[in-house]
Assembly symmetry: C2
Homo-oligomer: 333 residues x 2
Amino acid sequence: MKKLINAIESFVDEACEGVVAAHPDLVRFHREPRFLARAAAPKGRKVALVSGGGSGHEPLHGGFIGVGMLDAACPGEVFTSPVPDQMDAAARAVQNGGGVLFIVKNYTGDIMNFDLAAELLRGDGIDVRTVITADDVAVQDSTWTAGRRGVGVTVFVEKIAGAVAERGGSADEVEKIAKRTSEAGRSMGMALTSCTVPAKGSPTFELGETEIEIGIGIHGEPGRERTKLISADEIVERLAHPVIEDLGLKRGDSVIAMTNGMGSTPLIELYVAHRHLAKVLAGAGVTIARALVGNYITSLDMDGCSITLLRADDELLRLYDAPVHTPALRWGV
Amino acid sequence: MKKLINAIESFVDEACEGVVAAHPDLVRFHREPRFLARAAAPKGRKVALVSGGGSGHEPLHGGFIGVGMLDAACPGEVFTSPVPDQMDAAARAVQNGGGVLFIVKNYTGDIMNFDLAAELLRGDGIDVRTVITADDVAVQDSTWTAGRRGVGVTVFVEKIAGAVAERGGSADEVEKIAKRTSEAGRSMGMALTSCTVPAKGSPTFELGETEIEIGIGIHGEPGRERTKLISADEIVERLAHPVIEDLGLKRGDSVIAMTNGMGSTPLIELYVAHRHLAKVLAGAGVTIARALVGNYITSLDMDGCSITLLRADDELLRLYDAPVHTPALRWGV
């Protein structure tokens, strides 16, 4: 296992310290229990957006802390749910009376631990809502999931609900737009190679030299099918068509499209993939209103890509375009 | 070789089309001869900034086209210099009487081909200046270089000279700040793994399972030493100290620091590296005024990182902070 790493035990803490070293104006780090939060508290009463999950998916979630997105993120160990104490402490640190929205990817451990934290917080009179993302169309149930896995749409939920929270939306309004966004997005991913979890030290799964896995999860969970290596265009079609169908996109629709790298995919290849996604969508009469191409929700050093499409309308686009200033997404500021 | 690719011959063209598909508001593509240019011509007389080089270093250079940075970029084939026709056509397309600045990384082929294009353009009365970046402290001469290789500082030259050009600076002013920036930066990189050039289909060089290469070039050119795998902190020290020494940084100095991924390095690891860079600099009494952590100048699918430090002063920081809107760097807009 070759990685830029010092010790397995301190890997996540050190990465958190690195985020703060790079962005001290945006993010601060609380070590015990572990969470990252905005360096400067927002002015006025604001719904606090708190997310989190296992580490290894960077920039998700810590890279999305800042004006217009998250207030705090709780990183678990690599591919391991954060514990309720983390979400409890993070929520208490960033809430200021406007309520809290938990943004939770649909994995059993995450759901359980965010729920436990919500109970603790509600016991002290804090208004906690939860939105669950479950956008991965590849498989219905999975290794760590009842129902679909939560993946790329989480980025859009954090951005769009973040915009409503930032402009002073109520807990009801923030919860409503978060759920609407979550339901408007679908994703599917694939792997050219496995990832390697530091604590294990060897690849999570084996893929032959000419094999790829379609429908993979962000922890290396099995997908729909293992197939031989096919062209970038064919790969994109295997991902895009199920997403388009599941979302029920029709001619005249428009989307926010994300061509996402799994962690070790060169940008030049992501652009080759995005090119064909644009062609497939054009063929279906669907307009790309906005696009993200790059690493937004990753799986350590997995090579591969995922596609997320969010059905767009004027309200979602306006909120997506609202100013954001985080380590990983920034515009209008 | 597992990549998101359709065909070797069309790889670079397709990636260019993908950039445009993702950012039609920012970038347009001219196929023959090949260049990328701003989608919307800047208003008024403006020095045109044109860069380019072999492909495989994305987002450099095409990802830096837009307001506040480049006017055009000429992508060669993978790790292959663009030909003079490309720079000639790109410069003619984007210049509007204010002169042209070529930003060229110090590789023999690039220098020669940009020089030939400059001759052609000057023959038609166009004022062409050239700044050469040569910031890699690892080796003096290299496989493809007389003198030091041009690497990470190129990003800062494009940003800072771009700011002066955007606000209407003269060709003299843009050239002067570009040269000053180029001379104020130093870099060094390392590889955990080789890259694989699609046309070859196998790794450019061999590294054992517990070997790394310190001082590597962005095409896999040999570095200073091959050593056994060491910790992230030790790696950062092997890169940072030569850069700090060569730049002559002293207590009280401040820098813009870039911890750059070579293409397939997970962001979580780059943050671990950046954490220690911040510690090393703090130990030397040097302040990080601004930081970039991510993939900015890559080497296809090479795993590893490089560090670039730019000695900062008020003028350079003000220009660095000026608004920019490109596919890969955006702020203030």
